[in-house]
Point group: none
Chain length 211, copies 4
DNA sequence: TATGAATGAGTATTCATTCAT
DNA sequence: CATGAATGAATACTCATTCAT
């Protein structure tokens, strides 16, 4: 008698998470534009006005999804790569955590992120997220380079970090599209590309355009 | 009566190019979904039914744009990287051509491509395009590796090529967003990342996950 | 065979008038907010997108109605009150034309106007229309006053004109709500109030329509 | 524990007045349709269900506002124009009180009234209010006419009263829209129009407020 | 009494797409 | 070949109103 159907009149915080869960699912499946607020609400087992009341417009909802998933991912990475480890170990653990996360949430961050890149309204949120990633990577590289006695311009560092992040994103896509692929192996491959390249840079080896 | 204005009744091929020009502009500016067929037709100075008659539905039109721009880009690269050159030179020339192209057409391929990545309907076309790129890169690497006496699994090669392509795409975005940036310098940076990494691989150096 | 159903594929100008007719009817019946674009379109025998294509948003449509009806009314008045007549004759003819118009279009201008007064978005259009009326009246009064050697401040004139216009509007409402009432008689009564004033009436002075 | 904040659990009558205050403010600012019950409740510092419990639906709430403000206005007028004074003095005092009231509550009665005129659901309430005004005016005129030995038909009287009320409403709007305007002056102008009529004004006759 | 949670129903607006001429 | 006219279908968003606690 006292345990009435537990899914009615839930507190706001709970409902918000349910809605975000549903939204992530639907946005992932359909894409931002083909996802309808109706479907999201229905999927969340709630009526549309609640979604608007709690999470705002469709764009805001998408940003909220992106934000939550992005934060989770960053936490996964941060939890894996302690800042007092050597750069290569940090990079490896970070990559492993990243690909592990992407592999474990194949309809989460990677898909939303991919979609957001095509839409101007999300440029701001995206820039923020990518900047956080790039900063982490750049800081890692910078750290290592200084330890070896090298100095690199900020722009150079940023660009290299961008390249690494891009490569990683690309492999994340590759992984997200291949359910049978192994995240750990993918991370290893990425590490090969990233680190063997970076290691050279660390030792002062630089490629120059011919002539 | 008989001397009608010279810009009417153009041959079909010319008209199509005009439409594609308009479509590329509008898709770039607004994004796929926010671009309206009305605007595209108006921008092309033609009526909407003509667009449909010549180039089909909106999706087909977008694919046509993507295709044309992609082909142009591939040609620019192919024209720069002759297959009989050494791998590093080919890679460098290819990258330089690529970034030069992206820099010169800042509202062309890179933007369309970025948008297409978020939309499922274009997955096929995209896969085709990326595959062509990946194949070129993979073939380049394979060539070089065999010359050095190494053998690499197909999947590994594909993944590394993916990573390189992803890194390159990422820097293309970086470049497309920064009008003041120099394509050639960006190409050099990318080459540093790609080649110094790849070169190690060529020499059989491989990174292994610890323990 | 050649006289196909005449109400298809009509030229724009015709359709626009049909739409305006329908919109005036529906807005009058339901009021601005309770009128739905659906109903207007259906009433006009056309699909909704056409309404948007030709007349714009709901607000713009309402303004267009207001404008058309207002212009018609002003023309009716202007056609009746030639500027070279004495002020009282002009006033009388103007009033008669006005009430005649309102009486003849009981779901037209007066109703729309009444509705518009309550909604802020129409303040601009309303001000314009009322200003035109007030100007006509004020000019008439000023004309007459100067002829008598008097001079009155602009504000005073404006206020008096406002009062007259207000009184007239009020009677227009009164008339619009009473199908059985006689416009001409109403005009006469208004003329009495406006021209003679209550005090005169109290003393048994009464204005009579000429001949 | 027992000394709860003193502004909770107020007696019903007080709460109702608070709500009405809030509602009048919001309705005035936004207009009937654009005002939301949410905003009203928030503005009143109370939850929505309370508003419904105390004052009923949105329409009923609006009517209640209209009613309260109208009653206040009528009291202001009635308090100023004692029935044993001569007609012109009563009219003058009534007008002065009316414009004074409108000027002092620029977001009260006049605005609500203006809005109500456009909406059919309020026709009844409006008619009642206007009728009360018209009756007062008509009675005043009738009184005076009989004193002078004249007799006028009921309809004529009603129409004249309507015209006067309409003129007054119009000037009330004029005043409500012009924060810098002086209510007393406006009343004087109205009195001139009402009492003397345009013809008198043309001949230089002017009414002056007594004393 | 008082409220946070919840919703049904309605509506403006847009857009790809197709006839009829 | 070329176009103005026309529409079906979809969708974001709002709001008055009511339960369950």
């Amino acid at each position: 008698m006292s345990s009435a159907p537990a899914f009615k009149r839930l507190p706001r915080a709970v409902r918000e998470q349910q809605m975000l869960d549903a939204a992530v699912k639907v946005f992932s499946r359909r894409g931002f534009h083909h996802a309808s607020m109706d479907e999201i609400a229905e999927y969340a087992g709630i009526s549309k006005p609640m979604v608007y009341a709690y999470l705002g417009t469709k764009e805001e909802l998408f940003v909220a999804c992106l934000h939550r998933e992005g934060t989770r991912m960053m936490q996964a990475i941060a939890g894996a790569a302690a800042p007092d480890l050597p750069a290569d170990v940090r990079l490896w653990r970070g990559l492993r955590a990243f690909f592990g996360f992407v592999g474990a949430h194949r309809d989460g961050w990677a898909v939303l992120y991919r979609q957001a890149r095509g839409e101007q309204p999300f440029a701001g949120e995206l820039a923020t997220m990518r900047t956080r990633l790039v900063e982490v990577v750049a800081e890692m590289l910078d750290h290592a380079l200084r330890a070896e006695g090298h100095e690199v311009g900020a722009v150079d560092l940023e660009v290299v970090a961008y390249a690494l992040v891009g490569a990683t994103e690309s492999l994340a896509d590759w992984l997200a599209d291949r359910p049978e692929a192994d995240p750990e192996k993918t991370a290893t491959r990425m590490m090969n590309v990233a680190w063997l390249g970076a290691a050279q840079l660390l030792h002062g080896v630089t490629w120059r355009p011919p002539e």
